[in-house]
Protein backbone atom coordinates (compact mmCIF):
# COMPACT_ATOMS: atom_id res chain seq x y z
CA UNK A 1 0.00 0.00 0.00
CA UNK A 2 1.11 3.56 -0.73
CA UNK A 3 0.58 5.93 2.15
CA UNK A 4 0.38 9.54 1.03
CA UNK A 5 0.67 12.42 3.47
CA UNK A 6 -0.54 15.83 2.26
CA UNK A 7 0.41 18.98 4.17
CA UNK A 8 -2.74 21.06 4.60
CA UNK A 9 -1.87 24.68 3.91
CA UNK A 10 -4.30 27.10 5.50
CA UNK A 11 -4.73 30.76 6.34
CA UNK A 12 -7.29 32.54 8.46
CA UNK A 13 -9.05 29.30 9.41
CA UNK A 14 -9.50 28.24 5.77
CA UNK A 15 -7.89 25.28 4.06
CA UNK A 16 -6.11 26.43 0.87
CA UNK A 17 -7.98 25.50 -2.32
CA UNK A 18 -4.83 23.81 -3.64
CA UNK A 19 -5.17 20.99 -1.09
CA UNK A 20 -8.18 19.42 -2.83
CA UNK A 21 -6.03 19.43 -5.99
CA UNK A 22 -3.19 17.67 -4.13
CA UNK A 23 -5.76 15.03 -3.14
CA UNK A 24 -6.77 14.63 -6.79
CA UNK A 25 -3.12 14.10 -7.72
CA UNK A 26 -2.63 11.61 -4.89
CA UNK A 27 -5.71 9.67 -6.02
CA UNK A 28 -3.85 8.82 -9.24
CA UNK A 29 -1.39 6.76 -7.21
CA UNK A 30 -2.56 3.12 -7.22
CA UNK A 31 -3.42 1.40 -3.96
CA UNK A 32 -3.05 4.64 -2.06
CA UNK A 33 -4.31 5.84 1.30
CA UNK A 34 -4.49 9.60 1.70
CA UNK A 35 -3.88 11.44 4.99
CA UNK A 36 -3.96 15.21 5.40
CA UNK A 37 -1.83 16.79 8.13
CA UNK A 38 -2.95 20.12 9.56
CA UNK A 39 -0.46 22.07 11.65
CA UNK A 40 -1.95 25.11 13.38
CA UNK A 41 -2.30 26.89 16.70
CA UNK A 42 -5.89 25.62 16.72
CA UNK A 43 -6.62 23.46 13.70
CA UNK A 44 -10.20 22.43 14.47
CA UNK A 45 -11.91 24.33 11.64
CA UNK A 46 -9.23 23.55 9.05
CA UNK A 47 -9.11 19.86 9.97
CA UNK A 48 -12.88 19.75 9.51
CA UNK A 49 -12.57 21.16 6.00
CA UNK A 50 -9.80 18.67 5.17
CA UNK A 51 -11.92 15.78 6.42
CA UNK A 52 -14.74 16.83 4.08
CA UNK A 53 -12.68 16.21 0.92
CA UNK A 54 -13.79 12.95 -0.69
CA UNK A 55 -11.07 10.31 -0.87
CA UNK A 56 -9.27 11.35 2.30
CA UNK A 57 -8.83 8.42 4.72
CA UNK A 58 -7.71 10.37 7.75
CA UNK A 59 -6.84 13.85 8.99
CA UNK A 60 -4.02 14.34 11.48
CA UNK A 61 -4.06 17.53 13.48
CA UNK A 62 -1.12 19.00 15.41
CA UNK A 63 -2.04 21.99 17.54
CA UNK A 64 0.88 24.03 18.85
CA UNK A 65 1.21 27.75 19.58
CA UNK A 66 4.39 27.86 17.46
CA UNK A 67 2.28 26.88 14.44
CA UNK A 68 0.28 30.12 14.48
CA UNK A 69 2.26 31.24 11.44
CA UNK A 70 3.51 28.90 8.73
CA UNK A 71 7.28 28.99 9.20
CA UNK A 72 9.18 26.28 7.30
CA UNK A 73 11.84 25.94 10.00
CA UNK A 74 9.13 25.36 12.63
CA UNK A 75 6.84 23.07 10.62
CA UNK A 76 9.45 20.89 8.90
CA UNK A 77 10.75 19.00 11.96
CA UNK A 78 7.15 18.25 13.09
CA UNK A 79 6.25 16.93 9.64
CA UNK A 80 9.43 14.86 9.46
CA UNK A 81 8.56 13.31 12.84
CA UNK A 82 5.11 12.28 11.54
CA UNK A 83 6.24 11.22 8.05
CA UNK A 84 8.13 8.01 8.90
CA UNK A 85 5.35 5.54 7.95
CA UNK A 86 4.43 7.37 4.74
CA UNK A 87 5.71 6.54 1.25
CA UNK A 88 4.84 9.96 -0.23
CA UNK A 89 4.74 13.44 1.32
CA UNK A 90 2.98 16.04 -0.83
CA UNK A 91 2.49 19.77 -0.51
CA UNK A 92 0.98 22.34 -2.84
CA UNK A 93 3.17 24.21 -5.28
CA UNK A 94 2.35 27.53 -3.62
CA UNK A 95 4.96 29.74 -1.97
CA UNK A 96 4.04 27.90 1.28
CA UNK A 97 4.81 24.48 -0.24
CA UNK A 98 7.83 25.65 -2.21
CA UNK A 99 9.34 27.08 0.96
CA UNK A 100 8.48 24.18 3.24
CA UNK A 101 8.70 20.89 1.31
CA UNK A 102 12.43 20.91 0.42
CA UNK A 103 13.25 21.43 4.10
CA UNK A 104 11.06 18.43 4.92
CA UNK A 105 12.77 16.41 2.17
CA UNK A 106 16.20 17.27 3.59
CA UNK A 107 15.18 16.11 7.07
CA UNK A 108 13.83 12.86 5.58
CA UNK A 109 16.85 12.35 3.31
CA UNK A 110 14.35 12.07 0.45
CA UNK A 111 14.50 13.45 -3.08
CA UNK A 112 11.89 16.05 -3.98
CA UNK A 113 9.99 16.31 -7.24
CA UNK A 114 8.80 19.90 -7.72
CA UNK A 115 5.59 20.94 -9.49
CA UNK A 116 4.37 17.48 -10.45
CA UNK A 117 1.72 17.68 -13.16
CA UNK A 118 0.85 13.97 -13.35
CA UNK A 119 1.35 10.81 -11.30
CA UNK A 120 1.67 7.89 -13.71
CA UNK A 121 2.36 5.34 -10.98
CA UNK A 122 3.56 5.38 -7.38
CA UNK A 123 7.11 6.05 -8.60
CA UNK A 124 6.67 7.75 -12.00
CA UNK A 125 5.80 11.44 -12.31
CA UNK A 126 5.78 14.19 -14.91
CA UNK A 127 6.94 17.74 -14.24
CA UNK A 128 7.87 20.85 -16.23
CA UNK A 129 11.44 22.11 -16.58
CA UNK A 130 12.96 25.05 -18.49
CA UNK A 131 9.94 27.26 -17.83
CA UNK A 132 7.64 24.56 -19.17
CA UNK A 133 9.55 24.10 -22.42
CA UNK A 134 10.62 20.55 -21.58
CA UNK A 135 8.26 18.21 -19.77
CA UNK A 136 10.19 15.41 -18.08
CA UNK A 137 9.02 12.01 -16.90
CA UNK A 138 10.94 10.86 -13.84
CA UNK A 139 11.19 7.43 -12.22
CA UNK A 140 12.11 7.25 -8.55
CA UNK A 141 13.91 4.13 -7.34
CA UNK A 142 11.62 1.68 -5.56
CA UNK A 143 11.63 1.95 -1.79
CA UNK A 144 12.58 5.64 -1.82
CA UNK A 145 10.37 8.01 0.14
CA UNK A 146 9.13 10.70 -2.25
CA UNK A 147 8.55 14.33 -1.35
CA UNK A 148 6.75 16.41 -3.96
CA UNK A 149 4.99 19.68 -4.61
CA UNK A 150 1.84 19.45 -6.70
CA UNK A 151 1.23 21.90 -9.53
CA UNK A 152 -2.31 23.14 -8.84
CA UNK A 153 -3.00 24.19 -12.44
CA UNK A 154 -2.67 20.57 -13.59
CA UNK A 155 -5.41 19.13 -11.39
CA UNK A 156 -9.11 19.62 -10.75
CA UNK A 157 -10.19 19.77 -7.12
CA UNK A 158 -11.18 16.45 -5.55
CA UNK A 159 -14.90 16.29 -4.82
CA UNK A 160 -16.46 17.29 -1.51
CA UNK A 161 -18.57 14.98 0.61
CA UNK A 162 -15.96 13.07 2.58
CA UNK A 163 -16.09 12.48 6.32
CA UNK A 164 -12.64 11.29 7.33
CA UNK A 165 -11.85 10.78 11.01
CA UNK A 166 -9.73 13.50 12.63
CA UNK A 167 -7.00 12.51 15.05
CA UNK A 168 -5.19 14.93 17.36
CA UNK A 169 -1.51 14.00 17.46
CA UNK A 170 1.71 15.41 18.86
CA UNK A 171 5.03 15.46 17.05
CA UNK A 172 8.17 14.64 18.95
CA UNK A 173 10.35 17.34 17.51
CA UNK A 174 12.46 20.20 18.73
CA UNK A 175 10.85 23.44 17.60
CA UNK A 176 13.39 26.16 16.85
CA UNK A 177 12.99 29.79 17.89
CA UNK A 178 15.59 31.17 15.46
CA UNK A 179 12.93 32.14 12.91
CA UNK A 180 10.19 34.58 13.85
CA UNK A 181 7.17 35.89 11.99
CA UNK A 182 6.93 39.68 11.94
CA UNK A 183 4.14 40.62 9.55
CA UNK A 184 2.45 40.05 6.25
CA UNK A 185 1.07 42.81 4.07
CA UNK A 186 -1.49 41.80 1.55
CA UNK A 187 -3.55 44.12 -0.54
CA UNK A 188 -7.15 43.66 0.58
CA UNK A 189 -9.30 43.05 -2.41
CA UNK A 190 -12.87 42.04 -3.13
CA UNK A 191 -11.76 40.58 -6.45
CA UNK A 192 -11.53 36.84 -7.05
CA UNK A 193 -8.22 35.25 -6.03
CA UNK A 194 -5.77 35.19 -8.93
CA UNK A 195 -4.76 31.58 -8.31
CA UNK A 196 -8.28 30.15 -8.45
CA UNK A 197 -10.25 32.68 -10.54
CA UNK A 198 -12.24 31.56 -13.58
CA UNK A 199 -11.36 34.73 -15.43
CA UNK A 200 -8.17 36.78 -15.30
CA UNK A 201 -7.48 40.16 -16.90
CA UNK A 202 -3.78 40.83 -17.06
CA UNK A 203 -1.64 43.82 -18.00
CA UNK A 204 1.93 44.26 -19.19
CA UNK A 205 4.59 46.87 -19.77
CA UNK A 206 2.42 48.68 -22.33
CA UNK A 207 0.26 50.02 -19.51
CA UNK A 208 3.04 52.54 -18.85
CA UNK A 209 2.19 53.49 -15.25
CA UNK A 210 0.49 52.36 -12.06
CA UNK A 211 -2.19 54.95 -12.78
CA UNK A 212 -2.85 53.50 -16.23
CA UNK A 213 -2.90 49.98 -14.77
CA UNK A 214 -6.24 50.86 -13.17
CA UNK A 215 -7.87 50.36 -16.57
CA UNK A 216 -7.02 46.63 -16.20
CA UNK A 217 -8.58 46.48 -12.75
CA UNK A 218 -11.62 48.38 -14.07
CA UNK A 219 -12.31 45.81 -16.78
CA UNK A 220 -11.62 42.95 -14.35
CA UNK A 221 -14.25 44.31 -11.96
CA UNK A 222 -16.80 44.69 -14.75
CA UNK A 223 -16.51 41.05 -15.81
CA UNK A 224 -15.85 39.54 -12.36
CA UNK A 225 -12.24 38.65 -13.07
CA UNK A 226 -9.04 38.57 -11.05
CA UNK A 227 -6.18 40.90 -11.98
CA UNK A 228 -2.80 39.62 -13.16
CA UNK A 229 0.39 41.23 -14.42
CA UNK A 230 3.51 40.37 -16.36
CA UNK A 231 6.91 40.49 -14.72
CA UNK A 232 7.71 43.64 -16.71
CA UNK A 233 4.68 45.40 -15.22
CA UNK A 234 5.57 44.30 -11.69
CA UNK A 235 9.24 45.22 -12.07
CA UNK A 236 8.21 48.66 -13.31
CA UNK A 237 6.04 49.10 -10.22
CA UNK A 238 2.70 49.21 -12.09
CA UNK A 239 1.34 46.24 -10.11
CA UNK A 240 2.26 44.51 -6.81
CA UNK A 241 4.34 41.31 -6.79
CA UNK A 242 1.50 39.02 -5.77
CA UNK A 243 -0.16 39.65 -9.14
CA UNK A 244 2.78 38.36 -11.19
CA UNK A 245 1.94 35.50 -13.52
CA UNK A 246 4.69 33.32 -14.96
CA UNK A 247 7.61 31.00 -14.31
CA UNK A 248 8.54 32.68 -11.05
CA UNK A 249 5.15 34.12 -10.20
CA UNK A 250 1.82 32.34 -10.18
CA UNK A 251 0.96 29.46 -12.51
CA UNK A 252 -2.73 29.75 -13.30
CA UNK A 253 -5.37 27.85 -15.25
CA UNK A 254 -8.45 30.07 -15.64
CA UNK A 255 -11.24 29.49 -18.17
CA UNK A 256 -10.46 32.91 -19.68
CA UNK A 257 -7.15 34.77 -19.67
CA UNK A 258 -7.09 38.22 -21.27
CA UNK A 259 -3.60 39.64 -21.83
CA UNK A 260 -3.42 43.37 -22.54
CA UNK A 261 -0.12 44.86 -23.66
CA UNK A 262 1.82 41.72 -22.73
CA UNK A 263 4.42 40.71 -25.30
CA UNK A 264 4.49 37.09 -24.13
CA UNK A 265 7.99 36.19 -22.95
CA UNK A 266 8.48 32.43 -22.52
CA UNK A 267 8.61 33.01 -18.77
CA UNK A 268 5.13 34.56 -18.86
CA UNK A 269 3.63 31.95 -21.18
CA UNK A 270 4.60 29.14 -18.84
CA UNK A 271 2.27 30.68 -16.27
CA UNK A 272 -0.79 30.65 -18.54
CA UNK A 273 -0.45 27.66 -20.84
CA UNK A 274 -3.14 25.74 -18.96
CA UNK A 275 -5.68 28.54 -19.42
CA UNK A 276 -8.68 27.28 -21.41
CA UNK A 277 -8.97 30.37 -23.63
CA UNK A 278 -6.20 32.93 -24.04
CA UNK A 279 -7.07 36.33 -25.49
CA UNK A 280 -4.25 38.67 -26.53
CA UNK A 281 -4.57 42.37 -27.26
CA UNK A 282 -1.33 44.00 -28.34
CA UNK A 283 -0.23 46.80 -30.65
CA UNK A 284 2.62 44.70 -32.03
CA UNK A 285 1.35 42.05 -34.47
CA UNK A 286 4.67 40.17 -34.06
CA UNK A 287 4.32 39.83 -30.27
CA UNK A 288 4.91 36.17 -29.25
CA UNK A 289 1.72 36.21 -27.16
CA UNK A 290 -0.21 35.82 -30.44
CA UNK A 291 1.42 32.42 -31.00
CA UNK A 292 -0.42 30.97 -28.01
CA UNK A 293 -3.57 33.11 -28.13
CA UNK A 294 -6.88 31.50 -29.09
CA UNK A 295 -8.19 34.93 -29.94
CA UNK A 296 -5.96 37.82 -30.90
CA UNK A 297 -6.64 41.45 -31.65
CA UNK A 298 -3.95 43.82 -32.88
CA UNK A 299 -4.74 47.16 -31.35
CA UNK A 300 -4.21 49.76 -28.66
CA UNK A 301 -5.45 48.50 -25.31
CA UNK A 302 -6.43 52.02 -24.27
CA UNK A 303 -8.88 52.04 -27.18
CA UNK A 304 -9.93 48.38 -27.04
CA UNK A 305 -10.78 48.18 -23.32
CA UNK A 306 -13.38 51.02 -23.39
CA UNK A 307 -14.84 49.44 -26.55
CA UNK A 308 -15.19 46.05 -24.83
CA UNK A 309 -16.78 47.70 -21.81
CA UNK A 310 -19.30 49.59 -23.91
CA UNK A 311 -20.10 46.47 -25.97
CA UNK A 312 -20.85 44.67 -22.74
CA UNK A 313 -22.99 47.61 -21.63
CA UNK A 314 -20.83 48.29 -18.58
Amino acid sequence: MNKILIIGEHEGGKLNASIAKCVKCAQAIPDGEITILVLAADGAAVAGQAAAIAGVAKVLRIDHPANAHALAAVLAPQIAAIAAPFSHVFGPSTTFGKDLMPRVAALLNAPQLSDIMAAESATRFRRPTYAGNAIVTLEVAAGTKIVATVRSASFEAAAAGGSAPIELVTATAEIPTHTRFVSVTAAKSDRPDLQSANKVVSGGRALGSAENFKIIAGLADKIGAAVGASRAAVDAGYAPNELQVGQTGKIIAPELYMAFGISGAIQHLTGIKDARTIVAINKDPEAPIFEVADLGLVGDLFVVIPEIESLLGR
Binding site: T95, A105, I135, V136, T179, I223, I266, L295
Partner: protein, 250 residues
Protein backbone atom coordinates in the same frame (compact mmCIF):
# COMPACT_ATOMS: atom_id res chain seq x y z
CA UNK B 1 36.56 37.65 9.20
CA UNK B 2 32.90 37.92 8.24
CA UNK B 3 32.30 35.73 5.23
CA UNK B 4 29.36 35.43 2.87
CA UNK B 5 28.97 32.29 0.79
CA UNK B 6 27.11 32.59 -2.49
CA UNK B 7 25.91 29.61 -4.53
CA UNK B 8 25.67 29.93 -8.29
CA UNK B 9 24.69 27.53 -11.06
CA UNK B 10 25.73 27.44 -14.71
CA UNK B 11 22.55 27.25 -16.78
CA UNK B 12 21.35 27.74 -20.35
CA UNK B 13 21.09 31.49 -20.89
CA UNK B 14 17.74 33.11 -20.15
CA UNK B 15 17.26 34.16 -23.79
CA UNK B 16 17.94 30.82 -25.44
CA UNK B 17 14.95 29.11 -27.00
CA UNK B 18 14.92 25.60 -25.53
CA UNK B 19 14.67 22.61 -27.86
CA UNK B 20 14.07 19.09 -26.63
CA UNK B 21 16.26 16.41 -28.26
CA UNK B 22 14.43 14.16 -30.71
CA UNK B 23 15.40 11.04 -28.76
CA UNK B 24 13.87 12.46 -25.57
CA UNK B 25 17.12 12.22 -23.62
CA UNK B 26 17.09 15.87 -22.59
CA UNK B 27 17.37 19.34 -24.11
CA UNK B 28 19.90 20.44 -26.72
CA UNK B 29 22.93 21.96 -25.04
CA UNK B 30 25.53 21.79 -27.83
CA UNK B 31 26.83 25.24 -28.69
CA UNK B 32 24.17 26.88 -26.55
CA UNK B 33 25.09 30.03 -24.61
CA UNK B 34 25.53 29.32 -20.90
CA UNK B 35 25.30 31.91 -18.11
CA UNK B 36 25.04 32.33 -14.37
CA UNK B 37 21.49 31.46 -13.31
CA UNK B 38 19.79 34.91 -13.16
CA UNK B 39 18.52 34.41 -9.60
CA UNK B 40 22.06 33.51 -8.48
CA UNK B 41 23.37 36.67 -10.10
CA UNK B 42 20.91 38.59 -7.92
CA UNK B 43 22.13 36.62 -4.88
CA UNK B 44 25.73 37.54 -5.68
CA UNK B 45 24.83 41.20 -6.21
CA UNK B 46 23.19 41.24 -2.77
CA UNK B 47 26.31 39.76 -1.17
CA UNK B 48 28.49 42.35 -2.88
CA UNK B 49 26.27 45.18 -1.65
CA UNK B 50 26.40 43.80 1.90
CA UNK B 51 30.20 43.80 1.67
CA UNK B 52 30.25 47.31 0.20
CA UNK B 53 28.17 48.51 3.15
CA UNK B 54 30.89 47.15 5.44
CA UNK B 55 28.76 44.31 6.81
CA UNK B 56 30.95 41.55 5.36
CA UNK B 57 34.68 41.18 4.72
CA UNK B 58 34.73 38.52 2.05
CA UNK B 59 32.38 37.16 -0.61
CA UNK B 60 33.05 33.56 -1.63
CA UNK B 61 31.26 32.21 -4.68
CA UNK B 62 30.88 28.46 -5.17
CA UNK B 63 29.38 26.17 -7.76
CA UNK B 64 29.04 22.46 -8.50
CA UNK B 65 29.53 21.10 -12.00
CA UNK B 66 31.98 20.34 -14.79
CA UNK B 67 35.23 22.25 -15.44
CA UNK B 68 33.36 24.58 -17.84
CA UNK B 69 31.76 26.23 -14.79
CA UNK B 70 35.03 28.16 -14.38
CA UNK B 71 33.65 30.61 -16.96
CA UNK B 72 30.72 31.51 -14.73
CA UNK B 73 32.94 31.65 -11.65
CA UNK B 74 35.26 34.07 -13.47
CA UNK B 75 32.25 36.22 -14.33
CA UNK B 76 31.26 36.16 -10.64
CA UNK B 77 34.80 37.19 -9.67
CA UNK B 78 34.64 39.99 -12.23
CA UNK B 79 31.38 41.17 -10.65
CA UNK B 80 33.31 41.50 -7.40
CA UNK B 81 33.46 38.18 -5.53
CA UNK B 82 36.79 37.76 -3.70
CA UNK B 83 37.40 34.11 -4.45
CA UNK B 84 35.74 31.12 -6.02
CA UNK B 85 35.36 27.41 -5.36
CA UNK B 86 34.50 24.86 -8.03
CA UNK B 87 33.28 21.54 -6.70
CA UNK B 88 33.78 19.40 -9.74
CA UNK B 89 31.28 16.80 -10.83
CA UNK B 90 30.73 15.50 -14.33
CA UNK B 91 27.41 13.85 -13.62
CA UNK B 92 24.30 15.78 -12.68
CA UNK B 93 23.81 16.43 -8.98
CA UNK B 94 20.39 16.25 -7.32
CA UNK B 95 19.46 19.25 -5.12
CA UNK B 96 19.89 17.34 -1.84
CA UNK B 97 23.43 16.36 -2.84
CA UNK B 98 24.09 19.98 -3.81
CA UNK B 99 22.90 21.04 -0.38
CA UNK B 100 25.28 18.50 1.23
CA UNK B 101 28.17 19.98 -0.75
CA UNK B 102 27.31 23.45 0.50
CA UNK B 103 27.05 22.16 4.07
CA UNK B 104 30.65 20.91 3.76
CA UNK B 105 31.74 24.30 2.41
CA UNK B 106 30.00 25.96 5.36
CA UNK B 107 31.94 23.77 7.81
CA UNK B 108 35.15 24.85 6.13
CA UNK B 109 34.45 28.55 5.62
CA UNK B 110 32.10 29.36 8.55
CA UNK B 111 30.10 32.07 6.74
CA UNK B 112 27.53 34.15 8.65
CA UNK B 113 25.09 33.76 5.77
CA UNK B 114 24.62 31.81 2.56
CA UNK B 115 22.80 33.46 -0.33
CA UNK B 116 21.66 31.71 -3.50
CA UNK B 117 18.96 32.15 -6.11
CA UNK B 118 15.50 30.86 -5.26
CA UNK B 119 15.51 28.54 -8.25
CA UNK B 120 17.60 27.64 -11.27
CA UNK B 121 15.90 28.33 -14.58
CA UNK B 122 16.88 24.95 -16.06
CA UNK B 123 15.40 22.40 -13.63
CA UNK B 124 13.08 24.94 -11.94
CA UNK B 125 13.43 22.88 -8.75
CA UNK B 126 13.51 25.63 -6.11
CA UNK B 127 14.96 23.29 -3.47
CA UNK B 128 18.67 23.69 -2.71
CA UNK B 129 18.56 26.68 -0.33
CA UNK B 130 15.74 25.22 1.77
CA UNK B 131 17.45 21.80 1.89
CA UNK B 132 20.71 23.39 2.97
CA UNK B 133 18.99 25.30 5.77
CA UNK B 134 17.29 22.08 6.88
CA UNK B 135 20.52 20.06 6.95
CA UNK B 136 22.34 22.91 8.68
CA UNK B 137 19.52 23.36 11.22
CA UNK B 138 19.53 27.09 10.61
CA UNK B 139 16.87 29.63 9.52
CA UNK B 140 15.82 30.05 5.93
CA UNK B 141 14.36 33.19 4.39
CA UNK B 142 13.39 32.27 0.87
CA UNK B 143 12.13 34.38 -2.07
CA UNK B 144 13.69 37.47 -0.48
CA UNK B 145 12.99 40.91 -1.92
CA UNK B 146 14.74 42.81 0.89
CA UNK B 147 17.41 41.82 3.41
CA UNK B 148 18.34 44.08 6.34
CA UNK B 149 21.22 42.84 8.50
CA UNK B 150 22.44 43.55 12.00
CA UNK B 151 25.36 41.75 13.66
CA UNK B 152 23.25 38.87 14.89
CA UNK B 153 20.00 39.01 12.94
CA UNK B 154 18.37 39.64 9.60
CA UNK B 155 14.98 41.10 8.80
CA UNK B 156 13.87 39.74 5.47
CA UNK B 157 10.94 40.67 3.27
CA UNK B 158 9.70 37.70 1.23
CA UNK B 159 7.52 37.53 -1.87
CA UNK B 160 4.69 35.16 -0.99
CA UNK B 161 1.35 34.35 -2.63
CA UNK B 162 -0.53 36.70 -0.31
CA UNK B 163 1.82 39.65 -0.80
CA UNK B 164 4.91 40.50 1.23
CA UNK B 165 5.87 38.65 4.41
CA UNK B 166 8.50 39.85 6.86
CA UNK B 167 10.55 37.42 8.95
CA UNK B 168 13.22 37.95 11.56
CA UNK B 169 15.94 35.30 11.60
CA UNK B 170 19.03 34.74 13.74
CA UNK B 171 22.38 34.41 11.95
CA UNK B 172 23.83 32.33 10.49
CA UNK B 173 21.04 31.75 7.99
CA UNK B 174 20.27 30.88 4.37
CA UNK B 175 18.65 33.46 2.08
CA UNK B 176 17.29 32.77 -1.38
CA UNK B 177 16.93 35.65 -3.80
CA UNK B 178 13.80 36.61 -5.67
CA UNK B 179 13.70 38.82 -8.76
CA UNK B 180 13.17 42.15 -7.08
CA UNK B 181 15.90 41.90 -4.44
CA UNK B 182 18.16 44.07 -6.60
CA UNK B 183 19.38 44.66 -10.13
CA UNK B 184 22.78 43.05 -10.74
CA UNK B 185 25.61 45.26 -11.97
CA UNK B 186 27.23 45.01 -15.37
CA UNK B 187 30.77 43.71 -15.48
CA UNK B 188 33.33 46.16 -16.88
CA UNK B 189 36.36 45.08 -18.90
CA UNK B 190 39.06 46.05 -16.34
CA UNK B 191 37.27 43.89 -13.79
CA UNK B 192 37.36 40.91 -16.15
CA UNK B 193 41.14 41.33 -16.41
CA UNK B 194 41.49 41.68 -12.63
CA UNK B 195 39.30 38.62 -12.05
CA UNK B 196 41.85 36.42 -13.82
CA UNK B 197 44.21 36.93 -10.88
CA UNK B 198 41.66 36.14 -8.17
CA UNK B 199 41.86 32.70 -6.53
CA UNK B 200 39.71 29.91 -7.97
CA UNK B 201 40.06 26.60 -6.12
CA UNK B 202 38.92 23.35 -7.63
CA UNK B 203 38.11 20.21 -5.70
CA UNK B 204 36.35 16.98 -6.59
CA UNK B 205 32.94 16.31 -5.08
CA UNK B 206 34.34 13.05 -3.70
CA UNK B 207 37.07 15.06 -1.86
CA UNK B 208 34.26 16.29 0.38
CA UNK B 209 33.30 12.73 1.26
CA UNK B 210 29.99 13.03 -0.56
CA UNK B 211 28.55 10.13 -2.49
CA UNK B 212 26.49 10.88 -5.56
CA UNK B 213 22.97 9.56 -5.26
CA UNK B 214 21.08 8.11 -8.13
CA UNK B 215 17.52 7.83 -6.91
CA UNK B 216 15.68 9.79 -9.60
CA UNK B 217 16.08 8.70 -13.22
CA UNK B 218 15.03 10.66 -16.30
CA UNK B 219 12.72 8.46 -18.35
CA UNK B 220 12.15 10.99 -21.11
CA UNK B 221 11.94 14.66 -21.93
CA UNK B 222 9.38 15.97 -24.38
CA UNK B 223 8.20 19.33 -25.64
CA UNK B 224 4.95 20.61 -24.12
CA UNK B 225 1.71 19.89 -25.95
CA UNK B 226 1.21 22.63 -28.51
CA UNK B 227 -1.86 24.81 -28.27
CA UNK B 228 -4.20 24.86 -31.21
CA UNK B 229 -3.60 27.76 -33.56
CA UNK B 230 -5.90 30.61 -32.66
CA UNK B 231 -7.62 33.21 -34.77
CA UNK B 232 -7.00 36.91 -35.12
CA UNK B 233 -10.06 39.15 -35.10
CA UNK B 234 -10.20 42.67 -36.49
CA UNK B 235 -12.39 44.54 -34.02
CA UNK B 236 -13.39 44.62 -30.38
CA UNK B 237 -16.93 43.76 -31.50
CA UNK B 238 -15.74 40.53 -33.14
CA UNK B 239 -13.73 39.72 -30.03
CA UNK B 240 -16.66 40.23 -27.67
CA UNK B 241 -18.97 38.24 -29.99
CA UNK B 242 -16.52 35.33 -30.04
CA UNK B 243 -16.18 35.35 -26.25
CA UNK B 244 -19.96 35.51 -25.82
CA UNK B 245 -20.34 32.58 -28.19
CA UNK B 246 -17.92 30.55 -26.08
CA UNK B 247 -19.97 31.51 -23.03
CA UNK B 248 -17.00 33.30 -21.47
CA UNK B 249 -18.59 36.74 -21.35
CA UNK B 250 -22.20 37.75 -21.04
Amino acid sequence: MKKLLVGIKRVVDYNVRIKVKADGSGVMLDGVKMSINPFDEIALEEALRIKERGQADEVIVATIGPADCQQQLRTALAMGADRAILVQSTSSVEPLTGARVFLELIKKEQPFAVIMGKQAIDDDNNQTGQMLAGLWGRPQATFASKIVLTDTMATVTREVDAGLETLEVDLPAVFTADLRLNEPRYVKLPEIMKAKKKPLDTLAITDLGIELQDRVRLVKAEPPAARQKGIVVKTAAELVAALKQKGLLS
